[in-house]
């Protein structure tokens, strides 16, 4: 689904060859500052590579409409961001940005609860804790129902136990709906538990990838 060919981004990232398969769960690991976020941003054209080509379904991303790509390949930013005042505003923001039809309140609540978040829709989102905001952002993201989800450390603010439970839910959903997922994590257990494919990024190159059977 994604193929990287001799991709270089400034002096930050260099990938000779990397393939990411459709309907697979790929996990990016590596030390801080090695370019994991950069790699995700290259995939939905938030940034353009300095040289080389990234193919998305055989087409170079640079030839696709940038906004259309991002509606098909949604990305969750590394630090959770709030849009609007209430929990409801925040859940709907993604759909509004992506110009997709709004979901009814029942669906919003259901999605939030799915990630163990039980809040009132009218509640002020700013009072939510860091971990709650992350789950709110994850709910906003999954509502979009895009074909690819790029998650940049989606559960970094959660305790180990909840982190596992939330990721489990997300991955379950993704498999059921045949989504492609690429996520970044610093947790070895999470990577091992959920990924079909682990890509280890070391400074300026990709070391090796561990394939495993599902």
């Amino acid at each position: 689904m994604f193929t990287f060919q001799d991709v270089v981004y400034k002096d930050i990232l260099k990938l000779n060859k990397l393939t990411i398969n459709k309907r697979q769960i790929t996990c990016l690991v590596g030390e801080s500052g090695t370019g994991k976020s950069t790699l995700l941003k290259l995939m939905n054209n938030m940034i353009s590579s300095t040289s080389g080509t990234i193919f998305y379904n055989e087409t170079p991303v640079e030839e696709l409409d940038p906004v259309e790509i991002r509606r098909d390949i949604s990305m969750l930013s590394q630090s959770p961001v709030l849009f609007g005042e209430t929990v409801k505003d925040n859940l709907e923001a993604g759909l509004i940005f992506a110009d997709k039809p709004l979901a009814d309140e029942e669906k919003l609540i259901e999605t939030m609860n799915y990630f163990y978040l039980h809040k009132n829709l009218e509640e002020n989102a700013e009072t939510l804790s860091g971990g709650e905001q992350q789950r709110l952002a994850l709910s906003r993201m999954i509502l979009l129902d895009s074909s690819v989800f790029l998650l940049d450390e989606p559960t970094s603010a959660l305790d180990e136990d909840l982190e596992h439970k939330v990721m489990e839910r997300f991955i379950d959903h993704a498999r059921k709906h045949e989504k492609t997922v690429v996520f970044v994590t610093h947790s070895k257990t999470i990577a091992k538990a959920f990924a079909d494919n682990i890509v280890d990024i070391t400074p300026f190159s990709i070391k090796g990838s561990v394939k495993r059977e599902r």
């Binding site: 930013s77 630090s79 961001v81 923001a93 940005f97």
Partner: protein
């Protein structure tokens, strides 16, 4: 119209500078290091106004369409240059261009409408009307757009990660910056709106005060003032709208990616 005007004598005028001396003494006593600024501002104000007075006198005595046009163009140019200086941030070429175009298009079209449809004086280039009206419209638009540029740039800097996160979810640059753009518009036109509310009760606007002092009947002065306030509000809104509608685009490249910050 001004038989009863009191021409200030030199001594009367000089005695007004007592206010500044008083200010200097207070500042000195309170040990606020602002002596130099106060002196320089006072001197600049005096000389600028004296020069302007002589230039206006010359223009009023020699009305000519080219002269009036040239003066207005110089005023717009000076205002644009002043905006660049007053915004406390680096402006790139694209941003400067958008500011200049918005300022020129917004003020000149408002001015033309105001002079030819609202006031309708003749000849159309009569400097006695044209130049003060242009001054008010250009001056207020300049203040408005400066606030707008400042707010937009600050917002884009502070909320960069929010704009980025919105793009990641498939927002167009316009949608991703909607809130910041609206805030910039708000902060730019708010002073103008507020000044309309306070007018007449809290303060008498400068133009009206001047006219009344010069012996014009207060009702006539008020009619002019109302027209001017409306014209100024319209010009500020138009200039600022033109700016914000285009200004946000500077922060994105042709691949709709956030520019800069690297």
């Amino acid at each position: 119209m001004n038989d009863n005007i009191i021409d200030l004598t030199l001594w009367q005028l000089l005695s007004a500078y007592v206010f500044i001396i008083l200010l200097l003494i207070i500042v000195k006593l309170r040990k606020i290091p602002r002596n130099k600024e106060i002196l320089i501002s006072t001197l600049r104000m005096t000389f600028q106004l004296l020069i302007v007075g002589y230039i206006l006198m010359y223009l009023f005595d020699n009305p000519h369409p080219l002269l009036t046009t040239a003066v207005v163009l110089i005023m717009v140019t000076f205002a644009i240059w002043n905006i660049y200086k007053r915004v406390r941030m680096d402006l790139n070429k694209k941003m400067k261009k958008i500011i200049a175009i918005s300022m020129a298009a917004g003020t000149l079209s408002s001015l033309i409408y105001f002079n030819f449809v609202v006031i309708q004086f003749s000849p159309w280039y009569e400097p006695r009307y044209f130049i003060p009206i242009a001054g008010m419209i250009i001056g207020n638009s300049m203040t408005g757009i400066t606030l707008g540029v400042q707010t937009l740039m600050e917002n884009m800097k502070d909320q960069r990660s929010r704009v980025e996160a919105a793009l990641m979810l498939g927002a167009t640059p316009k949608e991703a910056t909607r809130k910041m753009v609206n805030q910039a518009f708000d902060s730019a036109i708010l002073p103008t709106i507020n000044s309309m509310v306070g007018t007449g009760i809290v303060f008498l606007p400068g133009m009206m005060t001047g006219q009344i002092l010069a012996g014009v009947n207060p009702v006539t002065a008020i009619e002019y003032q109302i027209a001017i306030l409306l014209g100024v509000a319209g010009a500020v809104a138009l200039t600022v709208i033109l700016f914000v509608q285009n200004g946000y685009k500077v922060f994105f490249n042709e691949r709709k990616q956030l520019e800069g910050g690297e």
